[in-house]
Amino acid sequence: MSANTFNFEAVKSIYFFEMARMRRTLLQSVISPVITTSLYFIVFGTAIGSRIQEVGGVSYGSFITPGLIMLTLLTQCISNGSIGIYFPKFTGTIYELLSAPVAMTEVLLGYVGAAASKGLIIGLIILATASFFVDIDIAHPFMMALFLVLTAITFSLFGFIIGIWAKNFEQLNIVPMLVVPPLTFLGGSFYSIDMLPPFWQAVSHFNPVLYLVSGFRWSFYEIADVNPVVSLGMIGLFLVICLSILGWIFRTGYRLRS
């Protein structure tokens, strides 16, 4: 490796190291979201859905599928993105990252790449699981993939920031456990927001998850609470915000180097 070249070998090492960790914790990483999602389908899709019939022209079970995938994708990406960098900080093995000839951008690529990959794999597994319960049509596969990938990357970055910021496991879990689920539930995962009174419709527009779910659902069934272009723009905005925060973290060495 010459003096100033990108350390691709390091990115690869971190990436595969993280992916191997997922294989070891396969049960937790994959099985549990699949079971949870199946339960959602049984409870919401079958039990409650049989009373709701259709939303926007699609069966209720089909309607909630994109939201369920998003819920899991967000939670997984944030958790994996944060634990990946938090764990070395916690155990002290971060010394190795900090004393290796790697720039923080390479560390980021390795961890965020792995977290996003895991999230995507799990998202696709849930999509496959859902297809056992309900009919799934994907009107715009390319847009669907774009929403999925952008969301996975953005929220893995967000997770990485949380992992660097967190000083203990409570702080680490606060966002994926306490912030994401309510935002997802209130972000139109299980209903269309025009079922809400006008005031709550307006409030819902401050919920970033609304834009993700709406855009993602549009790529399936062409029904959306907000314009899909606006959805894409919001994800882009969130991505830029995360990257700016990380830029600052790496410049200052915040909570990494004393």
Binding site: M1, A3, N4, T5, N7, F8, E9, A10, K12, S13, I14, F17, A20, R21, R24, F87, P88, T91, G92, T93, Y95, E96, L97, L98, S99, A100, P101, V102, A103, G253, R257, S258
Partner: protein, 327 residues
Amino acid sequence: MSPIQMSPIQPNSGKPPVVSIRNLTKVYGNGFKALKGVDLDIREGEILALLGPNGAGKTTMISIVCGLVNPSGGQVTVGGHDVVRDFRATRSMIGLVPQELTTDQFETVINTVTFSRGLHGKGKNPALIEQILKDLSLWEKRDNMLRELSGGMKRRVLIAKALAHEPRILFLDEPTAGVDVTLRRDMWQVVEKLRATGVTIILTTHYIEEAEEIADRVGVINAGELLLIEDKTTLMKKLGAKQLRLELTHPLEAVPPGLESFDLKLVDDGNALVHDYASDETHGNGQGSRIAALMKALSAADVPIGDISTHQSSLEDIFVKLIGERA
């Protein structure tokens, strides 16, 4: 005895130092000054022991060279490259075995060691990894998870990780703290083997015997300052007082006549005679004959000698003396 010479920067025989530290300072976030302007040149291929009590600043200094801690002031170059600006070049050359036993409990030995190599931008080399693990008696444990290993074994793994990318410079931060005799022996074997291949080794310790045993040069750090740095043998000569002790078969009242010129002292109620001299006197011009002359004179004066012993002050004595003078 001559006062201690302060000579932190020692010109080397033409070759540039492999690590050069200039006026290095570190002030931690809480305002604590851990390093107060350290100057140090490390020579290529040497084994340098940094000796100092807990809290002296040894780990801080190493951490700055390795990139774990940002310097507050001064400059550090490794192989001629600045550790901050050209961090890729400098960190590629360095292997670090940290003081704390920090390991990824759920990883296997072989994975964690292979990972270290990749992190340093080096392609896979299973044969090398195998050799390193064998040298450290870890090969049988390669598929074990780290949490299944004893403390000593984990220490070996940390050494293996540091060697996986074939560093030119190896930092061992208190490598033998809480380590058993076997591991110490293995470790010194590995160190010797590395030195033979030209690797520069810097170790910190507060065990003086350790520095005495394996180092070429010894630096003494206390309270963020490098008190001195010296070739071990020079240091021993410069500061290492020797004492010749003669046990007497029956006590004397006074130093016998004819021996006044030899600077003898009667101690232990007249049961022993001692003669203090600098350790390099025996090798100096004709100084060896001084001891011989003393022997002749002792015999002529019919001193009732029962036993003779000499004692050379250890690094420990020197260390305690140095810190004491500073306090």
